[in-house]
Structures are given as structure tokens and as C-alpha cells.
């Protein structure tokens, strides 16, 4: 995906020395990495390695303590003016977030709304799209994730895999330029994982920029353009999935892969 035409443009995600602490617990220690437009980056690592936190920093669900994090050249959560950083107003932060789709481990669908209502809520309320347009687009997206027949079902009436596909469609309904996946298949029964990964694979093939925190090594190898291994809040190793998975350089990467592969 990352060919010459893409390299010249601004990176989709540009993290330089990103650090984050919860109290005295330093979760991210100077993370530096770039995601190019159209790239699919998979992030792997043991639990507690900071990968989810990093993902949440990208759309400012967590605020960064140190370093610079920007999306399409725009600082996340802050505005730089005359060498000084200013915190963004909640409304400005919301404006940044609406272009970044996020898919959660536990789906977080709105249980009091049908699948279709879940999809049209934000486009109507946030983007001001007319209801009829939003519904048309919503049905299109539900068809895309293979759930056209489930538009009027409530989340509780759907299986986990179906719920997660609705959640992906909900994020796509905002026409994001970047999609973040936070362990999207970790909460699913094994036989339901495939459908969700198929949807994600299709999305990757359509050229969507994606950052995927995952434990699915097969997906990372087949679909990912790059692979990052994180442990203890640092990027231990990064490269193409083939290199990192088949020929890990670092001892910690080797130890982790020997356990999960």
C-alpha cells in the first residue's frame, strides 16, 4: 500500500515521543511511529503493554502527557500557536474525533437503538445529514457488513459477531479517514471471529487507513502492511508483518511470539 505516491504526502498518524501516565504508572514511554494514508498497521503485544492506550490517544479519548501526536498533520487535542500549546475546547476535540472511526472490544453499541438507528444517530446529530440520506447510507453499510436483514434488530438480538459488524458499520457511517480497532475480536466466540475479520479485510482492500490492536496473528500477517510489537509501553520492534513474525530480532518479541504462535 505504501508506494511512492503516498510517501510524499503527510502521514495519517504521526507520533513523536508520545508518553502517557496514569498516576505514577507510565503506560506509554516515548512512542514514535508513523502510519501512512492507506496503510494497515497492526499492533500486537502482551496485555498491559500500552497498545490500547496508544490507540485511545489517537482520537483523544486519553490525553497525551508528552510528545507530539498528530493526525493528517493536525495536532490531536491541542492547538499550537506562537510556540505555545492550547487545549482544545470539547467541541473542537469532537470535531477531530468525528473523522476517526473507532471500534471497541466490547462493541459498545447503543442497546436502546436498533442496528440502523445506531448507524444514523451520529451522522444526523453530529454531521447534520438529513434522516433519509443517513438511513439510505446506513442500509448500504449494513449490506456491506452482511447484515442488511438485521436493520431493525436491537443489539441484544444479535450475536457478538453481528454486533461487532454493526459497530464497524456505525464507525464507517461517519465517513472516517482513519479507523481504529481496539481488539475487535477478543470478546468474540472463536467461530464468530472470521466474519468480523472478513469485513475488516474488505475495508483494508478498499484503501482505508487502519490501526488495529489485535491478537489475530493470521490477520496481521495477511492484511497488515506493517506490524508493531509493543511491550512495557515502548515499541520494541516494528517492520513488515513477515519480518517481525518470521524473523523477530528482539528477545522480547521472540518470547511473546513463541507463546502466541
Amino acid at each position: 500500500m505504501s508506494d511512492a505516491s503516498v510517501k510524499s504526502s503527510v502521514p495519517m498518524v504521526d507520533a513523536a515521543g508520545v508518553s502517557k501516565s496514569f498516576g505514577s504508572n507510565e503506560v506509554l514511554k516515548s512512542i514514535t511511529l508513523q502510519v501512512q494514508p492507506g496503510e494497515v498497521m497492526c499492533v500486537i503485544g502482551p496485555s498491559g503493554s500500552g497498545k490500547s492506550t496508544f490507540l485511545r490517544c489517537i482520537n483523544h479519548l486519553e490525553r497525551v502527557d508528552a510528545g507530539r501526536l498528530s493526525v493528517e498533520g493536525e495536532l490531536v487535542g491541542y492547538r499550537q500557536k506562537g510556540g505555545k500549546l492550547y487545549e482544545l475546547k470539547p467541541s473542537e476535540a469532537a470535531l477531530q474525533r468525528r473523522d476517526i472511526g473507532m471500534v471497541f472490544q466490547h462493541f459498545n453499541l447503543f442497546p436502546h437503538m436498533t442496528a440502523l438507528e445506531n448507524l444514523v444517530e451520529a451522522p444526523i446529530r453530529v454531521k447534520g445529514i438529513s434522516r433519509s440520506d443517513a438511513v439510505a447510507r446506513g442500509r448500504e453499510l449494513l449490506a456491506q457488513v452482511g447484515l442488511a436483514d438485521h436493520a431493525n434488530h436491537y443489539p441484544a438480538q444479535l450475536s457478538g459477531g453481528q454486533q461487532q459488524r454493526v459497530a464497524i458499520a456505525r464507525a464507517l457511517a461517519m465517513d472516517p479517514k482513519l479507523m481504529l480497532f481496539d481488539e475487535p475480536t477478543s470478546a468474540l466466540d472463536p467461530e464468530l471471529v472470521g466474519d468480523v475479520l472478513d469485513v475488516m479485510r474488505g475495508l483494508a482492500e478498499s484503501g482505508m487507513t487502519m490501526v488495529v490492536v489485535t491478537h489475530e496473528m493470521g490477520f496481521a500477517r495477511e492484511v497488515g502492511d506493517s506490524l508493531v510489537f509493543m511491550d512495557g509501553g515502548v515499541v520494541v520492534e516494528a517492520g513488515t508483518p513477515r519480518d517481525v513474525l518470521s524473523n523477530p530480532q528482539h528477545q522480547r518479541t521472540k518470547a511473546f511470539l513463541s507463546k502466541v504462535l
Binding site: 469532537a94 470535531l95 442497546p111 453530529v126 443489539p155 441484544a156 457478538g160 459497530a167 466466540d189
Partner: protein, 335 residues
């Protein structure tokens, strides 16, 4: 008491619930083709329950027979005043006090709860102060205060405080006592409703707020569209309780002093007729009538909203109860 509701009638001792799990091992091997023979056992007897019930019934009958003959109860007067128009009008006023106070109390309680949970520290502090004052003082005392409000605040001064006065306006309007009663009751109720609403809002999975945030929804949109609708199943049952409680609390408006409510009116009548006890019975019967109706409503409310509340987030792959769907289904927009 609840023992009597056990399914003793099923004729099965409580242990055979193990029968269901006992089917597990067989299910892994050969499928059970035949049902095992049903257990026919002699039912456990409860002679003491029967004995105590008999004693209680005898005592109750004795009490009723005795009460029917006692002059002090004045049953003739009870019959005479039970449907007296003054009493039924007063009952209506009690209902009005309850309904208005609850409506204002709920709306204000919702506002206070949202203020307490808002990211704005000023709003938080104001809400905290309100709750501190109104939950920390007896409602009876508050009602006396509201009754005296026109003595405390009788002028409006326009000017720069402590420096210069441009105009002083005397407040000649004396609010009706009914109005003051509603204000007093509802402001106190709001403090309690705020806690109920807050508990409801906090019961919603934080992931919901996060998902809404990630979609670019504002804090207000998240509250109105996502959090509040989901908190209703937690908020509504205790609110029903508050209504019942409010109906009874309206008797305290005597402190304002407002006396046209059910209890005040029956006391006024008895002051003329010197028959306090029959009128107390009349008032009690009316209160019982209203609370009984409310309790029936409460029963159905709780039945409807109690489903699925103990479950956290939907279990993966498991068809969750459709309660949430059914409850909030009407609120949706897309058809």
C-alpha cells in the same frame, strides 16, 4: 411470609434442581431417550405455620368485633364523612399537590443530577450545595420557612449592593399557600430525585459514553440521546416509590400553613364536630385508597423495568433479554 410462595405445590423437594445439571453428563454420552421417573414423595408438613395463622386470625376477628362496637371510632360518622364533598375536594387537592410537586421535583432533580456529573466544577459545586442544604434539613422545617418567605424578602432593591440604591420595590404579591406548598415540597423532592437520577446515570456502562464521544457527539448529545434513555430502567422504579412517599408527605403542608389538603381539611372538620377519630379514619381510608392504586402501578413498573438490570454489558453471542429493546423501542426514530 415468602415461604408460602415457594412452589410447594409442585410436589418436588427443593433439591431436584440438581436434576437439570445431572442431565449434563448423560448429554455428553448417549442422548437421554426417556425421562426419568418423577419423584413421588410425601410433602413436608408445616404444622406451626397453620397454628400461628389460626391464632392470628382469631386475634384479628376479635379486634374487628371489638372495634365495631367501640363508640370512640364513631363508625356512623366515618360513613357520613367518607364521601363528604369537602373531603373529596380535599383529596383532589392532595393529589394535585403530589402531582405538581413530583413533576417539578423530577425535572429539577434531573437537572441537579446532570450538574453533579457534568465536567464543569462550578455546576458540580452548586448542585452539591443544593443537595447539602435540602437533604440536610427536615422538610417540615423547610415548609415553615417557605411559609415565612414573604416576611424575609419583602422588597426588591435595584442598585449596586452596599453602595448605592436606585429603586426599592415592595413586594405586595403574596403567593397563594398552595403555590408555596408546591414550591416547598418540590424543592425538597428535587434533592432526593437528584440522587436517584444520579444513580441511574452512573449505572450506564462508561463504554456507552466513550462510543458516543468517539463518534464526535457532544457531551450534551451523549447525555440526552445515549445515557439518559438507558438510565430510565434504573430511575423509574424508585421514582414510583417517591410518588407514594410524596402523597403521604403532603400532610406536612400544615407547616406552611396550608390546610385545604386531605389531612388538614379532616382536622378542620373535626375541630367543629369534636369527632377527631372518625375523621382520622376517613383521611386514612382515602390515603390508603390512593397509595393502593399507586402500589399496583408500582408493581407493574418494577416488573417491567427489573428485567435484565443485574446484567452488565451484553454477553457475547447470548441472546440478551429484549427488555431494553422493548422499553426504549418507542423512543427511536427510524422506521
Amino acid at each position: 411470609m415468602s415461604d408460602t410462595q415457594r412452589p410447594d405445590g409442585a410436589g418436588i423437594p427443593p433439591t431436584p434442581s440438581g436434576g437439570a445439571s445431572g442431565a449434563g453428563p448423560t448429554a455428553t454420552g448417549a442422548l437421554p431417550t426417556e425421562r426419568a421417573e418423577a419423584i413421588k414423595a410425601v410433602k413436608l408438613r408445616h404444622p406451626w405455620r397453620i397454628a400461628i395463622a389460626v391464632v392470628l386470625i382469631v386475634l384479628l376477628v376479635l379486634f374487628v368485633l371489638d372495634a365495631a362496637q367501640r363508640k370512640a371510632f364513631g363508625w356512623a360518622d366515618v360513613g357520613k364523612y367518607l364521601f363528604d364533598t369537602r373531603i373529596s375536594q380535599a383529596a383532589l387537592i392532595t393529589l394535585e399537590l403530589t402531582v405538581y410537586s413530583m413533576i417539578i421535583g423530577i425535572v429539577l432533580g434531573l437537572v441537579l443530577a446532570i450538574m453533579r456529573l457534568s465536567p464543569n466544577p462550578v455546576l458540580k459545586a452548586v448542585a452539591w450545595l443544593y443537595l447539602w442544604v435540602f437533604r440536610g434539613t427536615p422538610v417540615y422545617v423547610q415548609l415553615v420557612f417557605w411559609g415565612l418567605i414573604t416576611l424575609i424578602y419583602n422588597t426588591i432593591v435595584i442598585g449596586i449592593p452596599f453602595v448605592h440604591t436606585w429603586a426599592t420595590i415592595d413586594i405586595t404579591w403574596i403567593p397563594p399557600l398552595f403555590f408555596i406548598s408546591v414550591v416547598g415540597l418540590s424543592l425538597n423532592e428535587a434533592a432526593y430525585m437528584a440522587e436517584i437520577v444520579r444513580a441511574g446515570l452512573l449505572s450506564v456502562d462508561p463504554g456507552q459514553e466513550e462510543a458516543a464521544k468517539a463518534l464526535g457527539m457532544s457531551w450534551w448529545q451523549t447525555m440526552i440521546r445515549i445515557v439518559i434513555p438507558q438510565s430510565m430502567r434504573i430511575i423509574i422504579p424508585p421514582t414510583g416509590n417517591e410518588v407514594i412517599s410524596m402523597l403521604k408527605t403532603t400532610t406536612l403542608v400544615a407547616a406552611v400553613p396550608f390546610t385545604l389538603d386531605l389531612f388538614g381539611r379532616s382536622r378542620d372538620i373535626s375541630a367543629e364536630t369534636f369527632t377527631p377519630i372518625p375523621l382520622l379514619i376517613v383521611a386514612s381510608l382515602w390515603y390508603l385508597f390512593f397509595t393502593s392504586i399507586l402500589m399496583i402501578g408500582q408493581y407493574f413498573l418494577e416488573k417491567r423495568f427489573a428485567r435484565g438490570t443485574t446484567r452488565g454489558r451484553p454477553v457475547v453471542g447470548e441472546p440478551n433479554d429484549p427488555a431494553s429493546a422493548a422499553i426504549m423501542g418507542g423512543a427511536g426514530g427510524v422506521r
